[in-house]
């Protein structure tokens, strides 16, 4: 079988320093996206464990798998979690969720936790959509804009390119800077047409790194166009899978002329993290 370069690695993580048994509030968030799913478990508002995996064709099954994987080796069981919030495109299909909250609200809340209260603009670059969100100092959404109609400027578009050029998706960003000079961006907006354009460039003798550079810069430009419609207020951050692609992030920063805040948290868990924070708030509310 052919190697599938778009297939990014799935993983789980837990904080060895936290003992959940001493915790008071155990909350969780599950984000079932169109491409990836994450489950986040928090103990007293601290990140305790999470998983990140690809969404399968069955959403309830994907939600369950993500949760099981986050729970793995933690000693915790699903019944120990006091409240679960489901979010994302497949949020209605999280069978064990106590309630659902939109991914827009969860991303803003998650970004507020990850980057701090100064965040005002978030661009969430998901697998099949791209959202520009404005929020206040508490992570409450004040305005948003999204593109979910077109693969240009989404993670799925990048996956298609990684496959076309036989480059592991994790290496796309780094390789896109290994060029003598920055090429013009790919001119087609549509991913299908951009693919034909890229094939043409390869035939013309372009190195794949140069084609990657041209595509990363086209994607950065596409995000700038979306952001121009809503405006950028500082501080600014990116969440989602594309935030891990420096080929897009650095070019976006250059074109936008605004600093992009960095975080030590995994940018793909912002939605699930926000959901887990909402879950915590809901537990606290019920206790009052």
């Amino acid at each position: 079988m052919e190697k599938e370069y778009w297939k990014w690695k799935e993983y789980n993580w837990k904080d060895e320093d936290i003992d959940w048994k001493t915790g008071d509030i155990i909350s969780a968030g599950v984000d079932v996206g169109s491409v990836s799913s994450q489950a986040v478990i928090m103990v007293d508002g601290k990140l305790f464990a999470y998983s990140n995996m690809r969404t399968g064709s069955d959403s309830p099954e994907s939600a369950r798998k993500a949760m099981d994987w986050a729970l793995e080796n933690t000693g915790l069981q699903l019944k120990d979690i006091q409240y679960v919030v489901g979010t994302g495109y497949g949020r209605v299909n999280v069978p064990f969720a106590n309630r659902t909250i939109t991914e827009i609200a969860c991303h803003a809340r998650g970004a507020n936790f990850m980057y701090g209260p100064t965040i005002r603009t978030i661009i969430d670059m998901g697998g099949q959509d791209c959202k520009a969100i404005h929020c206040d100092e508490r992570g409450k959404v004040t305005n948003f804009l999204m593109n979910d109609k077109c693969a240009a400027g989404t993670g799925r578009g990048m996956e298609v390119f990684a496959d076309l050029l036989s480059v592991p998706i994790e290496d796309v960003g780094r390789m896109s800077f290994e060029v003598d000079e920055e090429p013009e961006p790919v001119s087609s907006t549509c991913v299908v047409f951009a693919k034909s354009e890229a094939t043409g460039l390869l035939r013309k003798g372009w190195h794949k790194n140069k084609v990657l550079a041209a595509y990363c810069s086209a994607m950065a430009h596409r995000i700038v166009t979306l952001l121009e419609r809503i405006g950028v207020e500082k501080d600014f951050c990116i969440t989602g899978g594309i935030a891990k692609n420096i080929g897009v992030v650095k070019r976006l920063q250059k074109e936008l002329g605004v600093d992009i805040l960095e975080t030590t948290y995994d940018t793909q868990i912002a939605g699930a993290l926000g959901a887990a924070l909402f879950a915590k708030a809901l537990i606290e509310k019920s206790r009052k």
């Binding site: 169109s34 099949q128 077109c150 693969a151 799925r156 549509c190 299908v192 047409f193 035939r203």
Partner: protein, 254 residues
């Protein structure tokens, strides 16, 4: 008077040589990645097959997305102008021409002489063009010719959520996983592209008679979906992908 029309499209090149309105030859070939050379080769092949010398041709008119690549052309016209001209020549009653090619969809309103009154184009997105059906046929692992045919067997309307060809491909795969019959998926795909083309065409309006041209007019499944969507009859020429080349050759005659 002998004239030639050459239509260098996104995917294929079409050549027509006319002698006073009579078609001497039609040739079609892939544009590939060296479309300039491919166009020249195809044209030379048409010349040698008919025994006509290049000097005997009064005008060589190029059209299509790659018309600038045709260096030996004596004149260039837009695909909109050429499509309307060709369609009205074949069907004098034509007032609306819908042209669906590999990477573009166009809707043209014209008068009885084939003069363009208004038009709308989609060139940005594969969802309203032949590339969409090609990608979906690939995802279903069905040959393109068969894809149109099996669509006619379906009697069920299932809506497609995705507009984008990239997302629709994933959706088609999910539908397959859910054991949806291929013919129902095929119809859903054709309904989706027909609805995209119709909303583009509404910008210029529909006036009878409606003619469908371009390579996608060979797809029986798409024709069926389009007829249902616009609820009007549609005229289809025998060689729909050659209509722009024909129009170009006719313009050369004037």
């Amino acid at each position: 008077m002998v004239t030639a029309g050459i239509d260098l499209g996104a995917k294929t090149i079409k050549v027509i040589i006319l002698d006073n309105g009579n078609i001497l030859i039609r040739k079609i070939g892939l544009a590939g990645f060296e479309s300039k050379k491919a166009a020249e080769d195809l044209f030379n092949k048409a010349l040698s097959d008919t025994g006509i010398k290049k000097e005997e041709i009064s005008e060589i008119v190029a059209t299509g997305a790659g018309k600038e690549e045709v260096e030996f052309a004596t004149k260039k016209v837009t695909e909109v102008t050429a499509g309307a001209k060709g369609a009205v020549f074949l069907f004098p009653s034509a007032k609306t021409v819908i042209d669906v090619g590999a990477e573009e969809g166009r809707s043209i309103r014209c008068d009885e002489t084939g003069k363009v009154i208004d038009f709308a184009v989609n060139e940005k997105c594969a969802a309203g063009a032949g590339a969409f059906t090609e990608a979906m046929a690939r995802a279903l692992e069905v040959k393109l010719e068969e894809f149109g045919r099996i669509s006619l067997k379906s009697t069920k309307t299932i809506p497609m959520n995705a507009q984008c060809a990239v997302f629709a491909e994933s959706e088609v795969v999910s539908l397959l996983h859910a054991k949806t019959p291929k013919e129902d998926i095929a119809r859903a795909v054709h309904d989706a592209i027909a609805s995209r083309i119709t909303s583009m065409a509404r910008k210029v309006g529909f006036e009878k008679d409606i003619v469908l041209i371009g390579g996608v007019a060979r797809n029986a499944g798409f024709i069926d979906s389009l007829k249902r969507e616009i609820d009007m009859d549609i005229l289809i020429p025998e060689e729909p992908e050659f209509v722009c080349a024909l129009g170009a050759a006719l313009i050369g005659k004037k």
